[in-house]
């Protein structure tokens, strides 16, 4: 900057655009970058902005260089310290982010700007390491647009922001055919591409295979989508919408854990009753359970059954996955249950919760069979008039006792836990089942959406001759939870998840729209995997497509597109400039009305001739001719394109 070459075009505009590009590219990365790094990046960018806007004051380049090197080393050490290593996407993206900022400081030539733009392209791509949703794609594209504007201003010098944005946007639109070809034909690598070790799959939320008081109510505060179900016909009634997750058998006095289970290819029960076919699109949760609707049947691909009736994926669900499933909600399950399982389902710790034990014993003493016991326990819980709440008080050492007799306020996990405890204390086999209950049909695309706030815990009791029977003790306190969801079941004044509040109705409509759009995006763009690519190619007539077929096809399609684009460009050139086309259109229209322009006739003379023949349109025609003549023969000024478009509209509006 100290010795700018006299013929170097001004780098001011491209530098400003590069700053905008860096800002837009890095902003979405701020979610996962360490806070100190965000501060460093923001500081560097702010410094650069100051440098760009004060071109007179520039530090000596040698000092600047030394500073940049020192800063780069310091940040690298910081990143090493923060992440513990340099490998994997997080430290890599962090390094690139800082480099993009530092590169701006040392810009002295257009070459530097090009390098920084390339770096920003990398970082825009890097966004998809973390998230591939529609908003992220939009952010990345916005960044790309700004990067293109930077390159454009570098080539053409100063343009108005409007013009440069328009031109760059047009260039991006022209790239769409290539995008489609590459999207359809680029070889898909099975599994997520960025499955790097150490830091992959962290931070996915959902159910877990343990449950203690408070774990599900925490989950209920989240509006995030757990999965979607697209039913082929009518969805099952709300009371049958139990989506089965981990079955919890082992109780240590405070928390519930999943028992051991066996895997088998077939369900351990005979399916019966009406069947529901649906396509389940599961958000990644890094676990194997598929949360199928009770009780799944058939043999869907890549799935196994557990002997506690879960449907499991063969691998953890680490990306959004789709399964075509069938369920029979009215099946009888576990008629001939293994005695070991039944024994495990009556196990209790030796001590703890003495009041609940005493209650269970007093209830079972008078009953003649387990079914009667079940009835008595349910009656007793109902009589206790417990309160259903999202904010249960904290419980101490004997959570079941405290819930039933002291605090008397609980969420579904408290009800399920207490109920199963009472049944087991009465020596009836029982277990906790976690999963989701309910689901809401999106009126936009008729997909059933199940959210984390639909997470639920219920119970199963084994009765001789009836097998495992589902009992939902929450329904005793809050029957509407099962029929119409969480919002209606909670008492007045309870803090609901934001979106569930009745006042948010319009917002929910917007959310319905948005989620339908996201679902379409997920299904058609993100969900386009190896199998669907193969199906697509087979549809085109390629029987066993491999990477060679794909490469050949891609090349051919790109070549065809290039030829088409070239032809289009030639056509545009042949058609002349837009102003000529406008005027030709006007002359042609007049010609059709019997007043053709003579070849030698100037616009004003022509307009006067038309005005003499059509006096009613004289003013309009004169105005058009005047505008054209000024644009065509007048001095070049700003707004030429805009005025041409206005002229075009005037000509279109002219009624004869």
């Amino acid at each position: 900057m100290r010795h700018p070459a006299p013929d170097t075009p001004s780098l001011l505009t491209p530098s400003l655009w590069l700053l905008i590009t860096a800002g837009i590219t890095l902003a979405p990365h701020a979610i996962h970058l360490p806070l100190w790094l965000i501060v460093v990046c923001a500081t560097i960018l702010a410094t650069r902005a100051w440098m760009v806007t004060h071109p007179g004051i520039q530090p000596r380049s040698r000092i600047l260089k030394a500073l940049i090197v020192l800063l780069a080393i310091a940040v690298a050490v910081g990143i090493r310290h923060h992440f513990g290593h340099f490998f994997g996407k997080d430290p890599g993206v962090a390094l690139l982010a800082v480099l993009l900022c530092l590169k701006q400081i040392e810009i002295t030539s257009s070459r530097d700007i090009r390098a920084a733009v390339l770096l920003s392209f990398f970082l825009q791509l890097g966004l998809f390491f973390y998230d591939q949703s529609l908003p992220v794609a939009a952010m990345a594209l916005t960044g790309t647009l700004c990067a293109l504007v930077t390159l454009l201003t570098l080539e053409t010098g100063t343009l108005t922001p409007r013009t440069s944005l328009r031109t760059s946007g047009l260039m991006m639109l022209q790239a769409i055919p290539f995008l489609v070809v590459l999207f359809l034909l680029f070889p898909r690598i099975p599994g997520p591409l960025w499955g790097l070790p150490a830091d992959a799959y962290s931070g996915m939320s959902g159910l877990s295979d343990t449950m203690e008081p408070g774990s599900i109510s925490q989950l209920s505060l989240s509006d995030a989508i757990a999965f979607r179900a697209d039913f082929a016909g009518e969805p099952p009634p709300p009371a049958q919408r139990y989506w089965r997750g981990p079955v919890l058998t082992d109780f240590d006095g405070r928390s519930w854990r999943a028992g051991r289970f066996l895997l088998q290819r077939e369900p351990a029960y005979a399916t019966s009753g009406p069947a529901y076919d649906y396509r389940l699109t599961l958000e990644p949760h890094n676990q194997r359970w598929l949360l199928a609707l009770d009780y799944p049947g058939g043999r869907p691909e890549n799935t196994v059954y557990s002997n506690d009736f879960q449907l499991l994926s063969t691998t953890p669900v680490r990306s959004r996955s789709r399964f075509d499933l069938r369920s029979y909600p009215e099946s009888n399950v576990g008629l001939n249950e293994n005695p070991f399982i039944l024994a495990a389902a009556t196990g209790l710790p030796d001590s703890g919760n003495p009041r609940a034990r005493a209650l269970a014993e007093s209830l079972s003493r008078d009953s003649h069979d387990p079914e009667d016991t079940l009835r008595r326990v349910l009656d007793e819980i109902r009589a206790m008039a417990l309160t259903y709440t999202l904010r249960p008080p904290l419980l101490g050492r004997d959570p079941v006792d405290e819930f039933l007799f002291d605090t008397r306020r609980g969420f579904c996990e408290h009800f399920a836990s207490a109920f199963v405890f009472l049944m087991r204390a009465a020596e009836v086999p029982a277990r906790v089942v976690t999963g989701y209950q309910g689901g809401e049909i999106n009126p936009v695309d008729q997909t059933m959406v199940v959210r984390q706030s639909d997470a639920h815990a219920w119970a199963e009791v084994w009765l001789d001759g009836r097998g495992w029977v589902r009992v939902d003790p929450t329904a005793l306190a809050a029957p509407s939870r099962i029929e119409s969801g969480l919002a209606s079941a909670l008492p007045q004044g309870e803090a609901l998840p934001f979106m569930m509040r009745p006042a948010m109705r319009w917002l929910r409509d917007v959310r319905h729209q948005w989620e339908a759009l996201s679902n379409a995006w997920n299904q058609s763009v993100i969900g386009y995997n190896t199998e669907r690519q193969r199906a697509f190619l087979e549809g085109l007539g390629f029987t066993s497509p491999d990477w060679r077929t794909l490469t050949g096809l891609m090349g051919a399609a790109a070549a065809v597109l290039m030829v088409l684009l070239f032809g289009w460009a030639v056509m545009q050139f042949r058609r002349g400039d837009p102003l000529d086309r406008c005027w030709d259109r006007f002359c042609a229209r007049m010609g059709r009305h019997g007043i053709p322009r003579l070849p030698w006739e100037g616009p004003i003379d022509y307009a006067e001739r038309i005005a003499a023949i059509r006096p009613s349109r004289a003013d309009q025609v004169r105005h058009i001719a005047q505008t054209y003549a000024t644009l065509r023969y007048g001095p070049d000024g700003p707004g030429h394109d805009l005025k041409t478009r206005q002229l075009s509209r005037m000509i279109s509006k002219l009624a004869l």
């Binding site: 070849p599 030698w600 003379d605 001095p635």
Partner: protein
């Protein structure tokens, strides 16, 4: 505001010379384009009045030279006469030292005398007794020719005609204008009462403004096509020179300025073309000067690019 002056100037001129708006505009165009004007018409149609009006309205000083067969160059340029008191020759400037000169019946003088005037027109200076003397600025010559009575005249040769930017004809006034003329006051008295409309510095600024009138690439294309068509025509004995092309653009610029525009339209070129080309083109064969109909044919044969 130059165009306000122009409107006032034209209004005033039209009050004195009736029914000759187009000729007045063309004369003004010629003046603004720094060219010289050739008026070819019968006596008595108002050539002299036109020159007078222009000079008076623009505040230019005016000289009229009646060309005759015995007119000598010194009668135009001036002579050096021995001054007894200072014992030296003193130059007495001739009538050419004026801003607006009416050279009446220029074809009556001998070629030698004609060329003295024409040289002054071209160079804006005269040479007398080895001395070069600059002529006043602006310097504008209106020459008249009588086409009907050609006996005993020396018609201007082609090369000399080229020095005139425009050639116009006045023609007879139309019926209404002639009636007003016959019924109205004496033109000479009207003229005497008329005060200048332009200040002395206005004409140079108008000439300046005319040079900055936009000529677009598309218009240059059109002018070139016109020039090419005169050169390729079998009807004509020769085409328009590059100087004629420059004159065409200069005249079109001045016409556009007088019309109140900052850019030249094809219509401007078409308007001035017959007046720029008419005295420069000749028919193939008999060498007669080209008739207006032939000029119109040339214009209509060249499409707008």
């Amino acid at each position: 505001m130059p165009d306000i002056h122009i409107t006032r100037l034209l209004d005033a001129a039209n009050r004195i010379i009736l029914g000759k708006d187009r000729a007045l505009r063309l004369a003004l165009t010629c003046l603004v384009a720094r060219g010289h004007l050739l008026i070819e018409d019968l006596p008595g149609v108002g050539k002299t009045t036109l020159a007078h009006v222009l000079a008076r309205l623009m505040g230019l000083d005016f000289q009229r030279i009646q060309f005759t067969s015995d007119l000598l160059p010194a009668d135009i340029v001036g002579v050096s006469i021995f001054d007894r008191e200072s014992s030296a020759f003193r130059f007495h400037p001739g009538p050419v030292f004026a801003q607006l000169i009416l050279a009446d019946e220029v074809n009556r003088a001998t070629p030698k005398t004609q060329s003295a005037l024409l040289e002054a027109m071209e160079e804006h200076q005269v040479t007398a007794d080895g001395q070069t003397l600059a002529l006043p600025e602006p310097f504008f010559v209106i020459a008249t020719q009588n086409p009907a009575n050609q006996i005993g005249t020396f018609p201007l040769p082609e090369s000399q005609l080229d020095r005139f930017l425009l050639r116009i004809k006045l023609g007879y006034p139309d019926r209404a204008a002639e009636r007003a003329l016959l019924m109205g006051e004496d033109r000479r008295k009207l003229l005497e009462r008329q005060t200048p409309v332009l200040a002395p510095e206005d004409l140079p600024s108008l000439q300046e403004a005319a040079q900055s009138v936009t000529v677009s690439e598309r218009l240059i294309d059109y002018v070139q096509a016109l020039l090419a068509s005169t050169r390729g025509s079998a009807e004509l004995s020769g085409g328009l020179s590059p100087r004629a092309g420059l004159g065409l653009i200069a005249a079109a610029r001045a016409w556009a300025l007088i019309d109140g525009r900052d850019h030249v339209l094809p219509e401007d070129v078409q308007t001035v073309f017959p007046h720029v080309a008419g005295h420069r083109l000749h028919l193939a064969g008999d060498g007669r000067s080209v008739p207006p109909e032939a000029l119109d044919r040339i214009l209509k044969a060249v499409p707008l690019p």
